[in-house]
């Protein structure tokens, strides 16, 4: 069996799967050939290119079976906690309870892409006045109303305040049609005033102690609500254990990212890395399995790096990617244009940083929530991106704007200006719609131009 890394199509995965099975592949309960997900309507899979490893197969199968996992948890009597917008904090609290499982309804923003607009989610959102001028996360509203893609949560927890307006407006619309989000406030993270007691947050941002105390108070409210819904007291010990597991997950992901970004030959494609990063936010509804999926990926990537194996023949342009994309195909496109990922900032770096274990669990979680790049200034976010891009030897930065997102227009400009002035790197800003086929050639041309710019700079 040829185990050299390669990117293959869904069709090619059928033969590859047979080879892996013949070679003794052992899969978890959600395993199986990738093409079976087409029967669920996941038609975008036909347009993507995949890493050919068993580890990547497990990653994809894990991602694409979340819905059934959630329904299974409901049948088993677990409480389903829908957490919205905070991207990483509340799930740690929920998973600290033995009878709770958390997921992000926000994740429905990829449904129009994965299912190639064959669902009625967007039409329902339209009918409720949430039209295409909003961020693609509006699909979440349709998914709730249609009762599709996930079970109705026992508790819905939504952060507002220093969040994007789209999301806040959509969540309010959700409330108006009968859902009752538990609103909690995440304040805009500000720089401490001179002489004001301050804390250095995970990731390096600073915040006033008073803001950490405020967020801690908000998280205490969530803790009480979770305890009530789950009929179990959520103790500090339980939270501390939950944080330890979260740090284990994050530690594995950190190592994976470091290897992928810095190996001389790229050991894992951009698309699989994006999916892997997403798991860290809420464990794709199974914390234990997330660890197993990461372990497989790490083993594969370590082996490839040790054997000096990788994808993409010529020395690809090292691109730092900012913001998640609505269309997964865009990640493939970067590599087809001659680039590779050397760093990412998908809006949730606070879900990747190590959570402090030397302070009380609630203080630690409050610090983590405040470290969210979205709740601070665009300047702070841009500074962190600059630091990471410099550390990872990026040759260019690609900022993918999210269509309709209220934060992208100004934030993108701030990030671009700082990168150009601090790092003097070429920056490409482009908007990627949930299905980018119609504008695919334009996106491709612009990515090619970015890669050419990198090559010209190398030649100078």
């Amino acid at each position: 069996m040829n185990d050299l890394p390669a990117q293959i199509s869904l069709d090619q995965w059928a033969e590859r799967y047979r080879q892996l099975c013949d070679g003794g592949l052992r899969e978890p309960w959600y395993g199986g050939p990738l093409a079976r997900h087409l029967a669920d309507g996941d038609y975008r899979l036909l347009r993507l290119r995949y890493d050919n490893s068993a580890a990547a197969l497990r990653l994809w199968n894990f991602l694409l079976t979340e819905e059934s996992r959630l329904f299974k948890a409901r049948q088993e009597g677990k409480k389903i906690i829908g957490t919205m917008k905070d991207l990483g904090t509340v799930p740690i609290m929920a998973y600290s309870l033995p009878n709770a499982i958390a997921f992000y309804p926000d994740g429905a923003w990829w449904v129009p892409c994965i299912m190639e607009n064959t669902t009625r989610d967007l039409r329902i959102a339209d009918s409720l006045g949430i039209d295409e001028s909003f961020c693609p996360v509006r699909a979440m509203l349709g998914a709730f109303v249609a009762c599709e893609h996930f079970p109705q949560p026992d508790l819905l927890i939504c952060s507002v305040g220093a969040t994007c307006d789209d999301f806040s407006a959509i969540a309010q619309r959700l409330a108006s049609v009968g859902y009752s989000p538990f609103w909690w406030e995440i304040p805009h993270r500000r720089r401490p005033d001179p002489d004001e007691p301050a804390v250095t947050l995970p990731g390096g941002f600073a915040a006033p102690v008073s803001q950490v105390a405020f967020v801690k108070g908000e998280l205490q409210r969530i803790r009480r609500e979770l305890s009530t819904v789950c009929s179990r007291e959520l103790t500090d010990d339980m939270l501390a254990a939950g944080i330890r597991v979260a740090n284990r997950v994050r530690g594995m992901l950190r190592e994976l990212r470091q290897l992928v970004f810095t190996a001389p030959r790229c050991p894992l494609p951009a698309l699989e890395l994006l999916i892997a990063e997403m798991l860290a936010i809420h464990y794709c509804s199974d914390r234990g399995e997330t660890l197993a999926v990461y372990q497989d990926l790490l083993d594969e990537v370590r082996r490839r790096v040790a054997d000096n194996q990788g994808l993409f023949p010529a020395d690809p342009a090292r691109i730092f990617w900012v913001n998640p994309v609505a269309d997964l195909r865009a990640m493939n496109l970067l590599e087809e244009c001659g680039g590779r990922l050397c760093g990412t900032e998908f809006l949730f770096c606070h879900a990747l940083d190590e959570i402090p274990e030397d302070v009380s669990p609630m203080d630690a979680l409050a610090q983590m929530a405040l470290a969210d790049p979205m709740v601070g200034s665009a300047g702070d976010r841009a500074m962190r991106i600059c630091n990471d891009a410099r550390r990872l030897n990026a040759e260019a930065v690609l900022i993918s704007r999210i269509p309709g997102a209220s934060h992208c227009a100004l934030e993108g400009r701030v990030i671009r200006e700082m990168i150009e002035s601090e790092l003097r790197l070429p920056v490409l800003e482009l908007e990627v719609p949930p299905l980018s086929d119609a504008v695919g050639p334009a996106i491709q041309t612009r990515m090619q131009a970015l890669v050419e710019a990198v090559r010209q700079r190398r030649a100078r």
């Binding site: 220093a162 309010q172 805009h188 500000r190 005033d193 209220s406 227009a409």
Partner: protein, 287 residues
Amino acid sequence: MSVSIAYLSPFVPAEWIEAHGLRARRVEAEGGVSAAAGACPLATAFAQCASDRDAVVFTTTCDQMRRMAERCCIDPSRVFLMNVPATWETAGAFALYTAELRRLGRFMVRLGGIAPAAQQLATVMREHDIARRSGAVVVDGGTPVAMVGAPLRREDRWLFDCVNHAGGCVALDATEGGPRCWPAQFDERGMAADPLAELARKYFLTIPDAFRRPDTLLQEYLQREVALRTIRGVILVRYLWCDQWHAQLVRLKESLKIPVIEIDLGGQDHDLPRIRTRIESLIGILR
């Protein structure tokens, strides 16, 4: 001459600024059409207009205004970004708003203001209360409609004339800056006990707005006022890219059960005839 503080949000109490001996200047923004794609024309206009003031207060009431504080061409030490919580039903949110008022106070002291004595603040609050209550506009004649939504820029004031010329009258000005965004009347006992707490209570707990979570204050206010003034149609004004008000469109149609049209502001001049026609059509239908 005392320092002038520019602001736009109704959650910035002019009383608090004036009690510090500074001038409160609510900016009537103008321009902003040349905003970058996706950037709010109002936030852009406000940042432009505020850039020649001594100091400026932005608020976190919307994403774009929060971020525009970083883009304002003014010495950063003279820019204050005030955290106004979106949630309002918890003691913690109220405490945060009050703490932000105190922080704004320290900012103003650094600019040359003087921290006010309680009595001094109460006096300014009474003056503002009287001014607000005496400013009621009498409207008669024409089909009564409500103008609801975002603050209007100077050049958007023609919308009121447009309604009048079409045979209507704006019997409820629920745009930001109109009576919708006035705090409830201050309570004498509250002012005697702790005027800053009373100021915070009336501003934070009674002003309805689209960004608040939940937004029940806004829905209750509109249902009450629309019934009281026998409003027959609503003109929802919002700026391009404003999600908070845009999301209210279908919601208001459902809850108020009267015709609602939406007007996008901050576009190009050639949009004006289209806006005029939409308003004339609404009034024509209602007549």
